[in-house]
Symmetry: C2
């Protein structure tokens, strides 16, 4: 049986990290652990903070195809979301998810040019539970 | 400062899961948590058990470009290895990493046609520590 939306939301909410993947200029998948999303609209939109100078931003600007993945290894549960990653550098988006303390990562504050927002929009979801995978079209 | 090989090996050895990524037929990265590698030759070759019928195997047969990723979220450490994934279905490889108890996953035993081996060969490594990334050519 596929996971319920409630279980999926719970898994995402409790995950300590987000696993984010891109495709690099040579066509290789690249994966990285990032902080949990700062903002989420249901299972449709996810917003993350990141460094504008990062490898990930470079990849997504060239090729926005992305997946984000959340898992609970103890419970053998996983949720992979596939979709598009947009790099947002406008001040409104940057302010939307900025938090006190972020100057630890972005010393110039909310206008730091090395601070930007990754906006992920979901097209498709694949869940894993009870040793079975199940795909859902979300577009 | 980049991670020492000793720290990298320790991180991989202690990781409870391996995060494995492929590129699907539409060019999207796909990511999944798998069990730790059954066998490893230094930082050069990794061997995993998997289902021959899995999505991952289908992807790698079409496009062997892969990355595997290990991380320690508490310590903010990560190791991404990029390279090629081969799907091995020969009996010698299957026996090499088979363990008692695997019949839980592959009911027909070591000759189960739905059991196969993923062999990952590393070309490039990227490590993350002290909030800094560092790339090493391993080919």
């Amino acid at each position: 049986m596929a996971m319920s939306n409630e279980s999926i939301e719970k898994l995402i909410k409790n995950a300590k990290v987000s696993i984010i993947s891109s495709v690099d200029e040579s066509g290789f998948p690249n994966t990285k652990a990032m902080l949990p999303p700062r903002k989420r609209i249901g299972l449709k939109e996810f917003y993350f903070t990141t460094n504008t100078s990062s490898m990930r931003v470079k990849h997504y600007r060239q090729n926005p195809k992305a997946c984000i993945y959340f898992f609970d290894d103890a419970a053998f549960l996983g949720v992979m979301l596939m979709g598009t990653m947009d790099v947002l550098t406008d001040q409104k988006s940057k302010e939307m998810i900025w938090r006190d303390g972020d100057t630890m990562y972005y010393s110039l504050g909310v206008t730091d040019p090395d601070y930007c927002v990754l906006k992920f929009t979901v097209d498709k979801m694949r869940t894993y539970s009870n040793f079975q995978s199940s795909t859902v079209d979300m577009a």
